[in-house]
Symmetry: C2
C-alpha cells in the first residue's frame, strides 16, 4: 500500500492518491466492500487542515496471482482480508497525517458514550478540525475544556457536567470536574509524537474517532505564501 | 455600542459580550426585531477561529429618555432605527475581528450568484473558516483556486468553469480562467488591513458574506500554551 498527500487533507475521498495491491483473488463485490470498509476505517478518519481536496483517490488492485480461490463477501476469508486491508490503509493514513504540512504530531481523537455513532463521529471531527484544539496539541497544552467546547459546538447531545476527558491515558476531568494534579502528566503525554484524546459523554453507546495533526507555526508559514 | 471578544469568535450568539444602548423609546416587538436584524447583519457574520464560544451575548437597552413616541415595527422610524443599529453593531463586529487573536486583517468574503442566499452564505463561511484560505490572507497570497475549492467543499452548487473571483476589486479569474497579469495588483490589495474577496458563482441570485481574520503565526503562538 502506497499513499501520497500532505495538504488539503480532509478526505471524503475528495489530492490524496493511494494504491493498494494484493495478489489475492477477490470477487468484484468483495473487493468493493472491503475497500469501502477499509477507507471508512482509515482515510475518511483523517484531517490535517479540514480542507477537502478536489481529487482524493484510493485504488485497490487484486491480481489473483496467489492462485487461491476467489474470496467472496460473507466468508471467513473475506473478514480476514477486510481486516488486513483496513490495518494496512490505517497505517498509511496515520503516516499521511504525520507527514502533513507543518505537522509534528498525530492525535487520535476518540468520543465514546454519545447518543449514536454519528453523533460521536461528529463530535470527534469537531475537535479534530478545531484550530483552537489543534494549536493546543502543538503546544502540548492539556486544555481539556477546549476539547469539550469544540465537541459541544457541533450540536451533539452533551452534558458538560457528565463528560470525562482522558489525555494519553491520563484522566484530566471526571464528570466535568477538573483533576488539577493530573495536568502535568497529561502535558508530558501530549509532548509525544502520538497520543489519544478521549471524551466520554455518558449519553449512550455511540463511538467515533478521527486522526488529526497539530496546528503549528510551520503550517502557517508554509501556506501563507504559495502562489506568489 | 460596546463589544468585547477576541478568541473563540464564531458567534451563533454562543464569550462575546456586546451592549447597545439607545435613548429611543421602542415597543418590545420592535426592539426584538431590530436586534435580530442587526445581529444577523453583524455578529453572526464574523469568524476568527471558527470555534463557537459558550456564552456570546448581545444586549440592547432602550431607555426612552429621548421622550419621543414609541417606535413600532413597520413604521419608517423602525426602518431607520434598525438600519442605524445594524451599522453600529457591524462596526463593532468588524473591530472584534481586527482585534482577534493574532489577527492583522479583516477580510470580507462575499459570494454572489449562488442558487440561494443560504448556499451563498454557506460558501462564504466555508472560505472564511478555511485554514488554508486564512493562511493565504495572512501571506497576501492571491491563491484564488483555494477560495473556489473551499467554497466547493461545502457542497453548494458550483461550476468551477463559471466562477469569477475578484480580490480587492481586482478580477483574478473570469469563468474559471486565471488572469495572471492581475496577480501582482491583487497581492498589493491583500497587503492592506481590510479587503474583499468576491466569488460570483453564476448559478442564481443568492448572496451571502462573512468577515474573517487572517491566520497568523501569532495565533498559533497565542493558543499553543494557555493552560500550562
Amino acid at each position: 500500500v502506497l499513499g501520497k498527500g500532505a495538504g488539503m487533507i480532509s478526505p471524503n475521498m475528495a489530492t490524496l492518491l493511494v494504491f493498494a495491491c494484493t495478489d489475492a483473488k477477490l470477487s468484484p463485490a468483495a473487493a468493493r466492500k472491503a475497500l469501502a470498509t477499509a477507507v471508512d476505517g482509515s482515510f475518511n478518519r483523517i484531517t490535517v487542515d479540514g480542507d477537502m481536496s478536489t481529487n482524493d483517490t484510493v485504488l485497490l488492485l487484486a491480481s489473483g496471482a496467489a492462485g487461491t480461490p476467489a474470496i467472496r463477501t460473507g466468508s471467513p476469508e473475506y473478514a480476514r482480508f477486510a481486516q488486513a486491508l483496513t490495518s494496512a490503509l490505517a497505517e498509511v493514513a496515520r503516516l499521511v497525517v504525520l507527514d502533513g504540512e507543518g505537522a509534528r504530531k498525530c492525535v487520535q481523537v476518540t468520543v465514546e458514550g454519545a447518543r449514536s455513532d454519528d453523533e460521536a463521529q461528529c463530535a470527534a471531527r469537531g475537535i479534530a478540525e478545531s484550530m483552537l484544539c489543534k494549536a493546543a496539541f502543538a503546544g502540548a497544552d492539556p486544555n481539556w475544556g477546549r476539547f469539550v467546547c469544540a465537541a459541544g459546538a457541533t450540536g451533539v447531545t452533551l452534558d458538560a457536567n457528565a463528560v470525562d476527558v482522558v489525555i494519553g491515558g491520563v484522566p484530566v476531568a471526571r464528570a466535568g470536574k477538573p483533576i488539577p494534579a493530573a495536568l502535568r502528566r497529561a502535558k508530558a503525554r501530549m509532548q509525544q509524537r502520538e497520543f489519544q484524546v478521549l471524551l466520554r459523554l455518558r449519553q449512550g453507546t455511540g463511538r467515533g474517532w478521527m486522526w488529526t495533526s497539530d496546528l503549528t507555526v510551520d503550517y502557517v508559514h508554509f501556506n501563507a505564501a504559495y502562489t506568489t
